[in-house]
Symmetry: C2
């Protein structure tokens, strides 16, 4: 007999079905025993009466979080027992056959149940697989699956080529400070901090448009709600652009596409579980140059920490300002000074101290860094020298630009941070399947 | 003026267009200079005559592999100049405006041009971005992009949840032998050899079906045409199965789906460039138990190296045998002995020395390993002990099975090896964007 999902059983009233899942709760009512069975589609009430001897014998040993299989004929509930709050609240399954597939230790869930006070975050991370059994956690990863499918569809439909670039490198791809070192046979290798070099290699190879989804590694010793030592990155790069404004337009188009799909498919669930209403943003998104941003923040009396860059508090305040002024959740901050940007960002023709780069903030959180890249070998070498970088260790990267390379640009995006903003969650640990930080390498 | 791709220009005869790309070749014919311009869609002939003074002045400096932009009015070629071999062989672009976007060193391509003898593999790997400029290399990554999009569509349509599991681990996920060690702040971490533990965590979390695409790392010191120290893995796992035969059926269905799409979209190009005809396989695929396979190979006088396992030569011969007998390119080899399989593979009820596992061979190359997993905590611990594993270092994994976990199974697949079989290429380096091996960490 094929398995029926809990949600489907209401279509099978009067028919025999086989269901499988977790015991969400067990209740006794006189001699009758009720089990709420949980599967990926929802809850179904199982009923055990003493007359069905074999099943009744087995059910006495069952505790919450056991995994079971049950067979019975789907029935309508007695009128006074209907639960309108549950999708399957009109029906129940009087069980004829019961099998225990897996037992659970008692107490089964050390991470706080629905409705009780949540166990502290660290404990929930220790028992992540139990934490993830809560329906709203499952929703997080359903939404992530949709987010990624939507981005990929955008890229594939726009003729991007997918690349899987190496994570083991002989040198650093960004600043050298946050590198993890790997013992690579008889020498050293480093974990890639971004696929930046290899996206650009694709441009030199004539692939014209590439994207990559993969892990990036940062030996970042600071512990914040936004950082992890390993996280997923979405990266895109494309050729024959005129400036970073082409990159901004492409990202806007992708985001509109993606958020439309998420709103359609999960908008209601997100509102129910996370009290967050998804809005599809209008294009073009607001833009503010770094100089303007600093002026606005000074007027708002937000203390500035660093010239030409924004700290988290400044990002938040700027986000609030933009939302108030434009009713827009997004803002592109442009024209970062060269002093705070990577050597491969292209400079403005009108002012070589300013880069053709941008960050994208969503409700006050940076989710993207992008730029037009410097594709001219001589200028690129000059900019690397200015930053005091070791040209020898960059040789393999710099060589990409020696044999003809078109003007190009792109962006890197953190889907974890996007998920925080989609669901109004304030810690990246909540949206990460299994988190990695300075003090966390398990489970 | 918006850019036109080369292939589109034939739709614009008599109209002014802007094209961009690489100089594939430069030829002089009396005073007229011809350039074959290459972009991602194909070749277009540019024509320069002395009357267009500015462009003519610039074109004299241009060498192969320069990146240029040209503007002109699309014209039909003189009848005697039509090249029927090229898609855009009926038209040409007399250039009015010309701009050099990027220069190339001379000699520009040290990796062997179309039609000349190929430079040796190692040199081509050194200059991978130049090697990839050949149209048939671009096709490899277009096909890979389609392969991955098709697998993902299959999974998403079948309600799988995508996971991104950590690549930094505190312990090994497979055998301990091929682990890369990472300096992780003041302690050691290891690079994941597979997402196996975290796929299974998803089962314990009640996700029911998960998939992951990501890098896997093997500190494998052997240098063969099939191995790399880092490669992309496709992994799927799902719950409430009855045996490994459910996993086999799911993989068959996915493969048929994926190969149908590749045949439809790129079948002709693959035949043209790689002389390989894609066949969509019939289901069910042939199956042979390991015991049967060894018997057949003994009859074929293929020397056996190891009890219960196949070496590459045995795989090849078995593939030939199956193709001859069943006209099928695939064969599932089942019932591997427990001695050669991971501790987490479930054993047969009828014979605990045999696992409920399989490999899938495609034309004599292993592309998949799969199994039903042992989900019962006590038996799993017993099997780990039997293999002499350190239970303490496996604690975080074993704990997944303590709190209720359904029966489940899954498979891991190497898309690089699939690409070798799709294109009839005999080295995984050819289908890898940027290869990593014992002696190769660059570019």
């Amino acid at each position: 007999m094929q398995r029926a999902y809990n949600k489907e059983t209401s279509k099978h009233i009067g028919k025999k079905v086989r269901v499988e899942g977790w015991v969400n709760s067990v209740r006794s009512h006189g001699k009758i025993i009720f089990i709420d069975l949980r599967d990926i589609t929802g809850i179904l009430q199982l009923v055990f009466i003493p007359q069905n001897k074999d099943a009744y014998q087995i059910v006495k040993d069952i505790k919450p979080e056991f995994v079971i299989e049950a067979i019975g004929i789907v029935s309508e509930r007695p009128k006074n027992m209907v639960n309108p709050k549950e999708e399957t609240g009109q029906i129940e399954l009087p069980v004829e056959e019961l099998k225990i597939l897996s037992k659970a230790e008692t107490p089964p869930i050390p991470v706080g149940e629905e409705g009780t006070e949540e166990a502290d975050l660290d404990k929930r991370m220790d028992f992540r697989w139990l934490d993830l059994r809560k329906p709203e956690k499952l929703l997080i990863f359903r939404v992530w699956t949709e987010l990624e499918a939507a981005f990929r569809e955008f890229w594939v439909n726009h003729n991007y080529i997918e690349i899987h670039s190496p994570k083991l490198m002989s040198t650093s791809s960004e600043s050298g400070a946050e590198l993890f070192e790997v013992r690579y046979f008889n020498r050293k290798a480093y974990l890639a901090q971004s696929p930046q070099f290899y996206k650009q290699m694709g441009m030199a190879a004539g692939f014209e448009k590439v994207f990559e989804v993969g892990p990036v590694f940062r030996a970042e010793p600071s512990v914040t709600s936004r950082h992890a030592t390993e996280f997923t990155g979405y990266d895109a790069e494309f050729s024959f652009i005129e400036s970073h404004q082409d990159v901004i337009r492409e990202e806007e188009e992708a985001l509109v596409c993606v958020l439309k799909r998420i709103k359609e498919k999960y908008g209601q669930d997100i509102e129910k579980f996370f009290r967050r209403k998804i809005a599809v943003p209008k294009t073009p998104f607001p833009q503010i140059t770094m100089a303007e941003a600093k002026k606005i923040l000074a007027e708002l009396k937000v203390p500035s920490e660093k010239e030409g860059d924004l700290n988290p508090e400044e990002e938040r305040k700027l986000g609030e300002y933009v939302y108030e002024k434009h009713q827009h959740e997004f803002v592109f901050v442009t024209e970062y000074p060269a002093s705070v940007r990577a050597f491969y960002h292209m400079r403005m023709e009108t002012n070589p101290k300013i880069t053709k780069s941008f960050d994208l903030l969503w409700n006050g959180l940076e989710i993207t860094t992008g730029a037009q890249r410097e594709h001219r070998y001589d200028i690129l070498v000059k900019q690397a020298k200015e930053k005091g970088l070791n040209l020898e260790s960059l040789k393999h990267y710099l060589d990409f630009f020696k044999y003809g390379c078109p003007p190009h640009g792109g962006f890197g995006m953190g889907p974890g941070r996007m998920m925080m903003k989609i669901l109004n969650l304030n810690n990246v640990r909540e949206v990460t399947y299994v988190y990695r930080g300075v003090k966390r390498l398990t489970p």
